[in-house]
Symmetry: C2
Subunit: 383 residues, 2 copies
């Protein structure tokens, strides 16, 4: 195919695959699309290791790295931890007693032993919250740029000028995810080379405008900057639809979560395979910002009448990640309460994700479905 | 074009236009699509008049009628008015004092004189709530079937067996709007000939699944029954996208509201032309069921912390219609408070509706945009 995005990266099929799993990234790149590794959960040391592995797998074919750089942290309750980079302990210290009580009650109700937050509180360890601070993101970007990456993406907010400058001087294009036209314009003004217009049906952090409406709006607003469509896309006919809307390609995240390679915990994968498109909810309960995820006992509790309300980012993220790590550990052995609580970020297209396939096969299926959709469209239109 | 829907109705362009305005219905039919008159606000006598007018305009070309038949009325507070067909007075009598007080305060805050609900309460008049009872809908269907209509559509719930039988024996296909796969299956089981899969971005009554996800799901679930895509669609490239998803055509409602012919009050039309895709909200404040509409002081108040919460359908509908009629009357003269309150049902594609065009021109523009989108898609894909 020949779109701006194919030319930008030298790929044949303009499908970008966002995944936290290096195997998915390499498989999609090797199948003719382009994998983008979500680095938010990694320390700089771990990221270095993952990228070395990918470099060996892809033999010079293009891949990218995604970091989470919030334009503004929602620090509440006097929490300065995110700014100061005081580590996990400082972030946990900022959690109000009311929230600890809520969590204690929730775990008791589902008969899951509470994780040892106290130990973490006393420790000097760095947590997942660390990487969403500007300092944390900058460290990750430095590691990423020391590898032959072809794209740096920013999943939240306008990338800091230092990130854009560093990428530009390394000759690496910068992409940014947006949920509104205004954000898209702001990103382009900040020097971003590629816009990912992400509809409300997407998994993870997402706005309120649907892909069907957002993509043509953003395409018109930022032309000639190329736009990838994201949100709800898991098949080749949806990819054809996105490109009919004016997109130069698509950005898919959810569809990889049920692939053979995915690191998704088996009990969560099972939930996803069984879920319909109605089984997701946009909730602040995992990161502090609205993010679409599987509806579960966890989201029901945080969105319910007895909830103290989620904290801001990154504090809620630290709290939820700690809780969810424990939930997943306990759920592995089949614990029913933990299985009810378990969830993960996923888009409404979870209703279309009903089989486990290798990531490579997902790419090939999308290629074929895309061709069939176009053929059908041409047949309908020919008089 | 040659889709199942083109063949079903003998039309050249599979664009169905839902409108309460007879001029739009006739214009779209005469331009090569098919108009569908929304009959919910009409008495049987008024509907008879409207259809006679349309018959004269379209010279035998196809058009349809849409009625609102809720599968189940949300009667609350002991309200039996909707079931008993006790008329407007009985419905108003079912409104709790708390809601009258809320409305009184709201109107006072925006300095709009309260409408004379008391007179309506004492009168024997029939109101808009009347047509959404099964009896009311049946009367409308009887009038509709005495005209050469080519489609009866049901906007809510499974059509009653009597409606399906009456339409079938008159040789008129029945369409139904759905927001989930389960509803689509139920409609097909009830004998419906054409499914309109309507995404959450649509104006009016709508579910939570986006068009991008819902359409392929429904297409697969009900094949070989043809599916129209609805929700967020206002341009030809969106129509091409919908058909890439597997739809046999599209159903558009919002886009006609800013046409030259539309009966939309001028101050509401202005709001729509200025609105972005972020300026809508899915709220129960106008009908008692979740319906997408312009965000305004009206929705802010009903969704706000001091709201008693909307009533069920049809009681909330009767209350809101009475209030909105007064708001629109007062707003006409430029009253700022009334203008803040005024709103109307519209989808997120309101962000794409920025010019006033004749309805005919909207059809022609969509034809051209569709052709261009397909051409672009073919050019991208040719190696």
């Amino acid at each position: 195919m020949r779109t701006e995005v194919c030319e930008m990266f030298g790929i044949e099929f303009p499908l970008l695959a966002f995944s936290h799993c290096r195997d998915v990234v390499a498989a999609v790149t090797n199948a003719g699309g382009m994998g983008v590794l979500g680095a938010v959960a990694y320390s700089p040391e771990r990221l270095e290791e993952e990228l070395r592995w990918i470099d060996r797998q892809v033999g010079g074919r293009p891949y990218g790295v995604d970091v989470l750089v919030p334009a503004k942290l929602d620090l509440k309750n006097g929490d300065k931890s995110g700014e100061s980079g005081g580590g996990l302990a400082a972030m946990l210290a900022a959690v109000p007693e009311e929230h600890w009580n809520f969590l204690r009650d929730l775990f008791a109700r589902y008969q899951v032993p509470l994780p040892d937050f106290e130990a973490a509180r006393r420790s000097k360890a760095k947590g997942v919250g660390e990487q969403v601070t500007e300092k944390g993101a900058t460290d990750l970007i430095e590691v990423a740029l020391s590898h032959p990456i072809r794209l740096i993406a920013s999943a939240l907010g306008t990338p800091p000028p230092r990130m854009v400058e560093a990428a530009k001087s390394a000759g690496v294009p910068v992409a940014a995810l947006v949920g509104t036209v205004e954000h898209a314009r702001r990103q382009v003004a900040a020097g971003v080379d590629l816009i990912v217009a992400q509809g409300t049906e997407a998994g993870g952090h997402t706005g309120e405008i649907s892909t069907m409406v957002l993509v043509p709006e953003v395409v018109d607003a930022v032309a000639p900057v190329p736009v990838l469509a994201a949100g709800g896309i898991a098949t080749g006919r949806q990819m054809a639809a996105a490109m009919a809307l004016g997109a130069s390609g698509v950005w898919c995240g959810s569809v990889w979560l049920t692939t053979e390679e995915a690191e998704t915990p088996p009990h969560v994968k099972e939930k996803m395979l069984a879920a319909t498109s109605r089984d997701t909810i946009r909730s602040r309960s995992r990161t502090g910002k609205p993010a679409r995820q599987l509806r579960s006992a966890w989201t029901d509790a945080w969105e319910g009448p007895d909830s103290p309300g989620p904290l801001g980012m990154p504090t809620q993220m630290v709290l939820a990640e700690g809780a969810m790590r424990q939930i997943n550990k306990v759920a592995e052995s089949g614990h029913p309460g933990a299985r009810e609580l378990a969830n993960y970020f996923v888009g409404q297209c979870v209703g279309l994700m009903n089989t486990v396939r290798p990531a490579r096969q997902v790419v090939y299926d999308m290629m074929q479905e895309f061709a069939e959709a176009l053929e059908r469209l041409n047949a309908l239109s020919s008089e």
